[in-house]
């Protein structure tokens, strides 16, 4: 399997990482190499094998329904690159 340049751009868009035009060819080469490397898996017959969902054979642990957290907006906001009062602020989102 190999990718074309439009796929590289589409994937970069999905991942929200700006990619300069001159980087696309290099990225394509790297992705192709990795995909060629993992290609080996396709020779294996995995019919009827359950995909792993967790390496530990235990059930999920559940939490009781109690308010034990929150009520500290400052702790949540103190690292914000931009804020307005107790809101995070981003460039306007157009709906």
């Amino acid at each position: 399997m190999s990718v074309d340049e439009s796929t590289v751009r589409r994937v970069a868009k999905l991942a929200r990482i700006a990619v300069e035009d001159h980087e696309v060819a290099k990225l394509k080469g790297e992705l192709d190499a990795i995909l060629a490397f993992v290609e080996e898996l396709s020779e294996l017959d995995v019919d009827g094998v359950e995909p792993m969902t967790g390496v530990t054979p235990v059930s999920i642990r559940l939490r009781e329904d109690a308010v034990t957290d929150g009520e500290n907006a400052e702790r949540v906001l103190q690292n914000a690159p931009a804020r307005e009062g107790d809101f995070f602020v981003v460039p306007k989102v157009v709906e």
Partner: protein, 492 residues
């Protein structure tokens, strides 16, 4: 997808220039799960808090923070599944739905994509006049709500509040079994009733605690399903109806003009009375679902399911059937009485005191009517079930007339008090003493000789005499006794 088999009544078809059209509707309802804390964190679900106060480090997706599932939210989903007779999946998994949005801190929503906690179920929906339909539910899954972006505070900025981020939602996905806006509204109403009965969702649509994505397509009756459009986030039952009507008409117009429908997401604008495409936001959606590696598969013991089933309250359908059988109320009254669990409980408490039909009548027409007018919930009713029951028994016993009962109700509503004591202290007791009533009748007859003469020719005038007597007696005379007496005295 197979075309569902239900053939709609022709009255539900929409006439077009090229003949009748059938509208096919399926819904995804997002219902906020009633819980103290969020789905995967210990912060509060409370409404209306200052911005970013009900937010834990988990909700804000700080580095290294991990989700831990809230047991109560799981229970609520199971209860909801049981209430619609659905399959409960003893093993389910949580998946990540990946996309970027400022109010989605993790960059993904934890949802259940492949294996939801609840499988297929059904909801019986009453449409009035004895008609009811069964709407299939495809699945119910648990997922996180997003935060809120506020766009109107600044011309260049959006403000982000994460208070809702991580609140538990149930997404209830129906099959495309609905055939009109009326059916769709009735379905949502019924689902809301069920969820409120079991306490799994408060159904408060004003707060966005219940909102619907509505899938609408149209076709000629019997034809294969048409291309559907999804109308996102409609947040009132009235709007759901309007959105469907408007969208169906839009699609019919396009098709009749020889066009085709684009499968897309649309937004309903109630102020403009239109739906419009959200295509700008659409761009290459690819959610890259995969099992959340922070969460192991959820395994539920059958014993827990059984326990929750045993603890379920009587559900609206069962209650309605019982009301009809045990109280002899009409199916319509039974439906109205069972719309809310609290109303049904109220009615039953009233009905203990006397004639159940009278109780139904008073509960629905007087009490609900008055509560509605004043925008009060049943819990806030100034007249208690015991008071209304007292009033009913006074009427049943013939102690007061219907007319007086209304006055008494007014007193109970505004001043309160014990109905029986009020009747005594305010002299409201109905006069059944024939002698006393006869005296008033005689007075009225004596004072109105012309009417007496007319009544001989036109016996219906007796009503006028009854009214006069009742008025003169301050409403306390027994109307039946008055009627009998007047008939005799007027010789009609």
């Amino acid at each position: 997808m197979n075309a569902p088999s239900r053939v709609p009544a022709s009255s539900k078809l929409i006439p077009g220039a090229t003949g009748d059209w059938e509208v096919v509707i399926g819904m995804e309802i997002h219902a906020q799960v009633t819980s103290e804390a969020k789905l995967f964190s210990g912060s509060s679900t409370g409404f209306g808090a200052p911005p970013n106060s009900h937010v834990s480090l988990v909700d804000a997706a700080m580095p290294g923070m991990l989700p831990v599932l809230n047991h109560e939210c799981v229970r609520q989903a199971i209860r909801s599944g049981l209430a619609i007779n659905a399959q409960i999946n003893l093993v389910s998994t949580f998946d990540r739905k990946n996309y970027f949005y400022p109010d989605l801190p993790q960059g993904y929503q934890i949802s259940q994509y492949k294996s939801p906690i609840v499988g297929e179920g059904e909801v019986t929906v009453d449409l009035g006049e004895g008609e009811s339909i069964v709407v299939g539910v495809e699945r119910i899954h648990l997922e996180q709500d997003a935060g809120k972006s506020i766009h109107d505070q600044d011309p260049k900025l959006s403000f982000v509040d994460l208070n809702r981020s991580g609140v538990a939602l149930m997404e209830i996905v129906s099959k495309p079994d609905l055939r009109s806006s009326e059916e769709a509204k009735a379905y949502v109403t019924k689902l809301r009733t069920i969820l409120r009965y079991i306490g799994a969702c408060d159904g408060d649509m004003d707060k966005g605690n219940l909102r619907a994505d509505v899938n609408v397509s149209v076709r000629k009756p019997g034809a294969p399903l048409g291309t559907r459009c999804e109308i996102k986030n409609v947040n009132s039952i009235r709007f759901i109806g309007q959105a469907i009507e408007i969208e169906a008409r839009r699609q019919i117009e396009i098709l009749e003009d020889g066009g085709t429908i684009d499968q897309e997401t649309r937004l309903f604008d109630p102020s403009k009375g239109e739906t419009r495409s959200m295509r700008s936001k659409e761009e290459a959606h690819d959610y890259r679902y995969f099992p959340d590696p922070d969460l192991l598969p959820l395994k539920i013991a059958q014993a827990e399911v059984d326990e929750l089933r045993a603890a379920l309250p009587e559900l609206p359908d069962a209650k309605k059937t019982r009301f009809i059988a045990d109280y002899g109320v009409t199916p319509y009254d039974a439906m109205v009485l069972t719309l809310e669990r609290e109303s049904a409980d109220f009615f039953e408490a009233v009905a203990k005191h006397g004639d159940p039909k009278l109780a139904a009548n008073w509960t629905i027409n007087e009490l609900f009517g008055r509560l509605n007018k004043q925008g009060l919930a049943i819990e806030a009713s100034p007249v208690s079930a015991a008071q209304l029951g007292g009033l009913i028994s006074l009427v049943s016993e013939g102690v007061i007339s219907g007319k007086i009962a209304k006055d008494l109700f007014e007193i109970l509503w505004t001043e309160g008090g014990d109905p029986r004591e009020l009747v005594e202290s305010r002299g409201l007791r109905q006069v059944t003493d024939v002698g006393a009533i006869e005296k008033v009748c005689d007075e009225v007859i004596a004072a109105n000789p012309e009417k007496v003469a007319q009544a001989k020719a036109k016996p219906t005038l007796i009503g006028w005499f009854v009214g006069q007597v009742m008025k003169a007696s301050g409403g306390k005379a027994n109307p039946q006794a008055v009627n009998d007496l007047l008939k005799r005295k007027l010789e009609i």
